[in-house]
């Protein structure tokens, strides 16, 4: 019996599946970091919230960040439809909203330094949690900027995976905020 069979091509896992799986594992791992921060927050302070957090800024940046997830979704859809102009438009909008979110957090920080400095327990938790989250927002914005730069040059006309990855990461950062916002402002 001759055994030198050629491997059937359909056996190989498609590259896109491998990439997606890796991305989701990354989210799983990152969730542990944020879960650890939440544990620290409730472990140290229970459900106590400092009354001087600015509810209006908190609500505003939350709405903007959630809205930016929608525009990110539209950007991904535009990339899949090979609509270059739409991709550029929606990416730009997402970037602007992300930047507004960061500006809001920065403004809140300046206020918070006086109200509850890092040397208080709530200040420690507030600055660490918003800081770690903002760091992820910044990296997300860097990815979105690179996407925008390349989208203009038409590099995603063939393969929209980078757009999908950047947008999924942006959604992930949003979902984290969905847990952090109530933990820091509401409960």
């Amino acid at each position: 019996m001759v055994a030198s069979t050629v491997l059937p091509a359909e056996h190989e896992t498609p590259r896109i599946t491998i990439n997606r799986f890796g991305l989701w594992l990354f989210f799983l791992s990152e969730s542990m970091l944020f879960a650890g921060l939440l544990v620290a927050r409730f472990g140290l302070l229970g459900t106590e919230v400092n009354e001087e957090v600015s509810q209006s800024i908190g609500l505003l940046v939350t709405v903007i960040l959630l809205a930016s997830s929608y525009s990110a979704l539209r950007a991904e859809q535009a990339a899949k439809a090979r609509d270059r102009a739409g991709l550029v438009r929606w990416l730009t909008l997402t970037l602007v909203m992300g930047a507004i979110f960061l500006a809001g957090v920065a403004y809140e920080w300046v206020e918070a330094f006086d109200a509850f400095p890092t040397s208080t327990t709530f200040g420690t938790l507030f600055f660490t949690m918003t800081g770690v989250h903002a760091f992820h927002v910044i990296t997300g914005l860097v990815f979105l900027l690179i996407l925008l730069f390349n989208a203009k040059a038409g590099r995603y006309d063939e393969d929209s995976w980078p757009v999908e990855a950047g947008v999924k990461y942006w959604h992930f950062v949003d979902v984290v905020w969905v847990f952090f916002y109530p933990a820091l402002y509401l409960i």
Binding site: M1, V2, A3, S4, T5, V6, L7, P8, H11, T13, T17, I18, F21, G22, L25, F26, L28, S29, E30, M32, L33, G36, L37, V39, A40, G43, L44, L45, P117, T118, S119, T120, T121, G123, T124, F127, T128, V132, I146, F149, N150, A153, R155
Partner: protein, 611 residues
């Protein structure tokens, strides 16, 4: 050369990062230069600069900015100093780097035992002793966590599952090149006088310690990053890149052990990164996570730290279990006994690993109600561990055992881990633990587990896969001499530690009462013998790599895929993708064949595999 680019990139990164932090500090009215805050902030930029300089920019990131893709083009020995994406190169990079770290840490142990030979502070003073002890512990833990997974997880696992590389080769190179900054941080820490917290870095001492402590935090944080990325890559590789016919039930047990280890790395390592981040923030940003006077909680550190670091114990030992079972089957010429139960046991250890952490904290002052549940969950671990032993013993039973060097190490793991495991049963018991906490009984216990189990497994793996990795045979006479020397040295060093621990010898201390001197002398003598036995290994390793006999493709007559291809394997591993027909342990079973390598006829394949 790439490493030079990395150093330049790292220096530029540090300067840029430092400038940024100093600007922010000046803006908020603080003194611009303050070594801790500036270094902590600049570290991330410096490491990014190092990675970009060492090759991440050239081979990875630059196409994101519209530059053309470059394919990798370095050959020969220079590949090992470059951002090479071949899993076989990365495996060897990991192995050599961590061997260097291992021998550095071993040298520190020699200094510790020199000081402890007599009472009094006669060789080094208490501060120097603490620094040496802390660095020994930290480096050895890093080696135990990352060496086996990094070296053999990278080199062997893709071949064992019939893949041509890892799922994400560039990510793989990234995870390796994060390791040199770890070594740099630890060395710099020593230059700053080290730190005195031990490898566990408990707060609040770690918050108050000198600047050396900051580099410990940065080093652990960076190794964590490397570990997470590496773990992710291994999981995706094993799930998506298996050859046709390589079902989960046919996966070699070593692949299972690395796969499960990778899952633990992926999930738990974030917590140690978080613990390190919190300490850094307490140190540099005036935060109060661990300051009880301001409402913080020092025990929070221990909870978060051990939530990673206990699973990390299994990250250290499971690969060694995998290597041990693998070799016991191949060298007993018998199918692996209770394969499915062994896999289940590995999974069971992973499951339990997340619910036992507070057994490190019985005397910490945590709520007393937590003691019993953690006692019970910890004792439960002995059940899956026992199943691993049953699998090993059942395989050995009536086997045609070949006492090769790797097989001797596998049997050494069984012997040493038995002692380490059973003393662990005592230590998990709250009343016993309260007596023995922080004594040399604990030191002896974890050295039996990690050195006697994990590191013996690592060296068994080196002797086993060396012919495949280098294409040269290691001298087996010297190998056997090395085995018996370290087996003897190891047990003479660590068995008496149980006794002096019971007599009340505290760990992490440079001095002790005179009645403990005889025991300590014996430990020190054993340690010097143990340490010098590694000289045999170093000689054998270097000499055999340079001048050893050429290795055949399958010197051990083993059935797993890596032995069915040439030594060392060609770049793409397999000429034709293999098709897996059965599990790799069908020794002595008529007509069993692990894989159709697609070369020649099935009959020829059976003949060559039978050896």
């Amino acid at each position: 050369m790439a490493v030079v680019g990395g150093v330049v990139g790292g220096a530029i990164g540090y300067v840029l990062g430092a400038a940024g932090i100093m600007a922010i500090r000046a803006a908020v009215g603080a003194r611009a230069w303050e070594v801790e805050s500036v270094t902590a902030g600049a570290w991330l930029v410096a490491v990014s600069g190092w990675l970009l300089g060492v090759g991440a920019w050239k081979y990875w990131v630059s196409p994101w900015f519209g530059r053309p893709e470059r394919t990798y083009a370095t050959h020969g020995w220079r590949r090992y100093f470059d951002f090479d994406t071949d899993h076989k190169v990365i495996g060897i990079q990991y192995l050599v780097t961590f061997l260097v770290m291992f021998f550095m840490a071993g040298l520190f142990a020699m200094f510790m035992r020199w000081e402890l030979m007599r009472t009094g502070e006669d060789v080094v003073n208490a501060d120097q002793y603490n620094a040496i002890m802390s660095l020994h512990g930290t480096m050895m833990v890093f080696v135990a966590v990352a060496a086996t997974v990094g070296a053999f997880g990278n080199y062997v696992v893709p071949i064992m599952i019939g893949a041509d590389d890892m799922a994400f080769p560039k990510l793989n190179a990234l995870s390796y090149w994060l390791v040199p900054p770890v070594l740099v941080a630890l060395t710099v820490s020593f230059a700053f006088g080290g730190y005195d917290t031990g490898w566990t870095g408990y707060a609040p001492l770690s918050v108050q310690s000198d600047v050396g402590g900051l580099f410990y935090n940065l080093a652990f944080f960076t190794l964590g990053l490397s570990s997470i990325i590496g773990g992710l890559n291994i999981i995706v590789t094993v799930v998506t890149m298996r050859a046709k016919g390589m079902t989960w039930g046919r996966l070699p047990i070593f692949v299972w052990s690395i796969f499960i280890t990778a899952m633990m790395s992926l999930i738990f390592t974030q917590f140690v990164a978080l613990a390190m981040l919190m300490v850094i923030l307490d140190r540099t940003a005036g935060m109060v996570f661990f300051d009880p006077a301001s409402g913080g909680e020092p025990l929070l550190y221990q909870h978060i730290f051990w939530f990673y670091s206990h699973p990390a114990v299994y990250i250290m030992i499971l690969p060694a279990f995998g290597i041990t079972l693998e070799m016991i089957s191949h060298f007993s010429r018998k199918p692996l006994f209770a394969y499915k139960w062994a896999v289940g046991a590995l999974l069971g250890i992973m499951g339990l690993s997340s619910v036992v952490w507070a057994h490190h904290m019985f005397t910490s002052g945590m709520a007393e109600s937590l003691r019993k549940p953690f006692l019970a969950s910890t004792e439960l671990i002995s059940i899956p561990t026992g199943v691993i032993f049953l699998s090993a013993l059942g395989t050995l039973w009536l086997g045609k055992i070949k006492f090769t060097v790797p097989m001797l190490f596998a049997l050494g793991v069984l012997f040493n881990f038995l002692i380490g495991g059973i003393t662990g049963v005592f230590l998990a018991d709250v009343p016993v633990d309260i007596q023995l906490q922080d004594t040399y009984f604990v030191v002896a216990h974890f050295h039996y587990v990690i050195l006697g189990g994990g590191i013996f497994g690592l060296f068994g793996g080196i002797y086993y896969w060396f012919p495949k990795m280098t294409g040269k045979m290691m001298n087996s006479g010297l190998g056997k001499l090395h085995f018996w020397a370290i087996m003897l040295g190891f047990n003479v060093t660590f068995l008496p530690m149980f006794v002096i621990g019971l007599q009340g010898m505290n760990r992490r201390i440079a001095d002790y009462t005179p009645d403990l001197e005889p025991g300590n002398k014996m430990v020190s003598m054993g340690a010097f013998f143990l340490g010098s036995s590694f000289l045999i290994f170093i000689y054998n390793f270097i000499y055999s790599w340079a001048r050893g006999e050429t290795a055949p493709a399958n010197p051990w007559g083993a059935r797993t895929l890596e032995w069915q291809i040439p030594s060392p394997p060609p770049h793409e591993n397999f000429e034709v993708p293999p098709i897996i027909l059965a599990d790799p342990y069908g020794y002595g079973e008529a007509d069993s064949l692990h894989a159709d390598m697609g070369i020649g006829t099935l009959e020829e394949a059976k003949d060559s595999e039978r050896v």
